[in-house]
Symmetry: C2
Subunit: 245 residues, 2 copies
Amino acid sequence: MSGPAIVLVRPQLSENIGTAARAMLNCGLTDLRLVAPRHDWLQDRAFAAASGADKVLLSAQVFETTEQAIADCERVWASTARDRYMVKPVEAPRQAAQSMKTAIESGHKVAILFGPERTGLSNDDVVLSDTVVSVPLNPDYSSLNLAQCVLLISYEWFQATADAPIATMTKGASDLASKAKLVAFFDHLERELDACGFLRVETKKAVMIRNIRNMFQRAQLTGQEVQTLHGIVHELVTYRKSKGE
Amino acid sequence: MSGPAIVLVRPQLSENIGTAARAMLNCGLTDLRLVAPRHDWLQDRAFAAASGADKVLLSAQVFETTEQAIADCERVWASTARDRYMVKPVEAPRQAAQSMKTAIESGHKVAILFGPERTGLSNDDVVLSDTVVSVPLNPDYSSLNLAQCVLLISYEWFQATADAPIATMTKGASDLASKAKLVAFFDHLERELDACGFLRVETKKAVMIRNIRNMFQRAQLTGQEVQTLHGIVHELVTYRKSKGE
């Protein structure tokens, strides 16, 4: 499915264009449009920030006005954090991604507008959109930079269109052992395994310890179970010593 | 609800610690833990990158080992993109956030491990976790920088614990007018309103145009409706002219 166009309106810094391009490609988006960028967006610093997402930068289209950048689109979202006192639908990114998916499936071309770093979109730009998309964040600290905002909204697009999430393999557990208790058991066991020669092959020692740790780690042991394991190791060692080995 | 601790293992760049702190505070998280950071994390460049999230940087705890950083935690997630060939549950951030919420509601302390910028977490660190968290991204380009990864996982935490999303106010529509058609109508209408003197108060002109545009914008007009509006304006003007005004 062809995703939404990302329209950066009057971006001020080339690095941010690069970082936005990277975030787009992370989420399978490639249609980057720039409205009156302050600087050349094909600078070294933009490519450095793009970190390999060069094709997005190289294929970016440039327009003089926001109107021109969205001329071929039927549905436009405007990303903004501030209330603009306009009667306009507002969606969180997760809802917006679903709405965009529906629009695109209906054959509509979709764009998302992002404003300049310092000021955000002007009201004249917001007016050109059908819907505002606003990221729910900590109300006491919601300042998000341009590329982070592009990332979060693009991420929700990708999640809305990607296959079902990876299957889980978790178990419920109460009274879980703290990691301090677990590591104390690892230390105890490995000390004894070292002493009895179980870890004598130096080249295999690290991987053996890792496999043993992972086996117990995976078990989501309770505090009581870790105590039991300490007891088991202690008893095995005592029995060995009592036999004079 | 007290959120998960964010544990940056051997971070290499102070800027990334600052940007991660900003992303954390955006999502209401404040418990930052650093394992053997390469540089002093209280540098100017870290505070510049933190962009006001100073309190997260200033309250960060530093540890020599990952084991020490998670000693008080009962449940630990490890953020990693690569397959580690370990038998270990894997969750996407959205599932992980739900699992973390359940764990925290059960009284467990939760931490999320993030590895160094270049290499990611070592296998010895991943082994210390209960669950792997892996961000579903474009399989052809999934390289994510440290702070972006912290942002996406923290964002999902915040969404899992935040109130219900903002209500929407959208309408279904087919045959929507393209923005080019809509802007052409705005131009037509505003030209005629200018000519007839409706926009004669220069100080109010910009806000009047904006309000008029927004009113039509909000209507999610079809192509046919825009044609009708062109006709209405044309007829009104012709009638006025025929009366010799």
